[in-house]
Symmetry: C2
Subunit: 334 residues, 2 copies
């Protein structure tokens, strides 16, 4: 039981994260070009995510290997980037929010691992490699997702002393709500219901809505809720006032929805045969192109992006990186 001595001292003392480093090495949000910003913050985030994961050689090794395999196997790091960029747009230090930035990436990865499971989307590959349950077995995949989920809330509580504790708790709660049944998990349930993939034994749920109603609801919950929470987290930790929080919250949810629409479009235009099959079928997957067609989906993504850009206009110079980020995500369409 003596291992608890150090732990209890730490609990009583407070938090260890050091955010006293200056911004000299990374530049401020108003002084760098967007590509430089992306590159420097990307490195900060990648290093922090790698350091946040338990070493592969720490027992029981297999679970740590599976967690690292899934988290470090690529990905755009959009969610942690939004935490960092939002904090900087509100005058915060990017290093101070890195634990929370890592946390949202771990949560995103946990959701992908569980979504890929045979009982869910039954996907064998992700990012060009075998999915976690193919590489490590289904039991370890379930547990790796669970462990990343827990580690995320461990990390949130470790964030900088520069962020006061009530705000950090508000961030923890906001993120928790964004991934519960009102958010990410609820979106996945609607997705499964929409595709008729729920086990018939539990079938006293109402029949799924028409695709044009169902799809926006799924995407708002499954993708936009957590992305909105990421943007608010950066703002809250940087001490933003209520009107700035409102602006950034609107930015985050519109950006999140646009991001998912573009993802859907890229999925279908990447394979014309699939597009042909899906566009004419009511039993299609719950995507924007299936519900609205590719051309209308493109318009909707562009409109949401314009709204996101407009939402952060009141931030002036400090909001420019967030605006560039929104435009760059839309440009993925081409």
């Amino acid at each position: 039981m003596s291992a608890w001595s150090g732990k209890l001292r730490r609990i009583c003392k407070g938090f260890e994260f050091n955010d006293t480093e200056t911004m000299a090495t990374v530049g401020t949000v108003t002084s760098v070009e967007f590509p430089t910003y992306l590159a420097t913050r990307g490195r900060l985030i990648d290093d922090a995510v790698e350091a946040a994961l338990p070493p592969a050689e720490q027992p029981p090794q297999i679970i740590h290997q599976a967690m690292r395999y899934s988290v470090l196997g690529g990905g755009k790091r959009l969610r942690p980037l939004l935490v960092v960029a939002s904090a900087e747009a509100c005058g915060g230090n990017p290093r101070a929010v890195l634990p929370v930035a890592c946390a949202v990436e771990l949560i995103h990865t946990y959701s992908l691992i569980h979504d890929d499971l045979p009982a869910m989307d039954n996907s064998d590959t992700r990012r060009g490699r075998p999915t976690c349950h193919i590489a490590y077995g289904e039991a370890i995949a379930v547990l790796a997702g669970d462990a990343l989920h827990a580690l995320a809330f461990d990390l949130i509580a470790r964030a900088s002393p520069a962020s006061d504790s009530p705000r950090l708790l508000a961030v923890s709660q906001d993120i928790a709500q964004s991934i519960g049944t009102a958010g990410m998990v609820g979106g996945q349930v609607l997705d499964l219901l929409g595709e008729g993939r729920i086990f018939p034994g539990g079938a006293n749920s109402p029949p799924p809505a028409p695709l044009a109603e169902l799809v926006p609801e799924i995407h708002l919950r499954k993708t936009a809720a957590l992305i909105g929470a990421c943007v608010r987290a950066g703002a809250l930790l940087a001490g933003a006032d209520v009107s700035t929080l409102h602006a950034l919250s609107a930015y985050g949810e519109r950006l999140g929805l646009a991001f998912q629409i573009i993802d859907d479009i890229l999925d279908v235009v990447g394979d014309d045969r699939v597009l042909g099959k899906r566009a004419g079928s009511d039993a299609a997957k719950a995507t924007y192109p299936a519900a609205f067609g590719v051309a209308r989906s493109r318009e909707m993504a562009a409109q949401l992006t314009a709204q996101a850009v407009e939402a952060v206009a009141p931030l002036g110079e400090r909001g420019v990186i967030l605006q560039e980020l929104a435009r760059s995500l839309l440009a993925r369409e081409r």
Copy 2:
């Protein structure tokens, strides 16, 4: 996005939990007999857990039905009781720690749902009813576990303003660590490894240790870590000093280990044919009776219970309920 207005106001305002009610209706920890204490706190906890869950009729209904089915389907409520009893032993108000008490019960239930999955223990029944994946399908069971996990951290952040935020964050972190790979998930991985149930593809983990080494390690992580965190949570939220935290931490981990040993014993003595088969087999499940035999396991549980009782002796009168609780758990053996 107008739904966010109220949410953002709440985030900025603080927390809503009301702990100004007096203790008149439940009595203080030093004024009531143990059976009365169990009954009154049991009701407080049951009511709070029921209220913490989303209503079954809230869409998407199936996930809320599955969560309620698993959480409200019985269970000893040991973990929330330990949060409450530990807080009271340190002079805290039981109502003030109810959100955290509910959180640990939701976490415990999530772990049972995931442990029961076909890829893990593949259990069809629990507490005399079909397991969650039998009743609602495997996809909903995975998601119900995930949603309870997220709701737990939402609840922790909602705890009383009487508990200061740095301590609440410490509790959130301690609980998160107790259920990660150093705790509950790590224990489940060791359990699977010990029974050779890990997918061979991930087989560069070392061979499992002898049962007599492996079993205590599994139980410390899988059961005692979270139980220890429950006891510390109550103490931390009640403002306990470091020496009291040490005493309660020792109490919690010894109690947690004793509890699991007794569970193992009850499992085998409840079915003599099973006992006969297991006692003679090296390929047995990773339990105390399989590793040490029933008689030696009983001695170990009694010894750990005595140590738990001894650990809280310095609390005097205030520690008596915790001592009674430890003794009553041991008495389950008969």
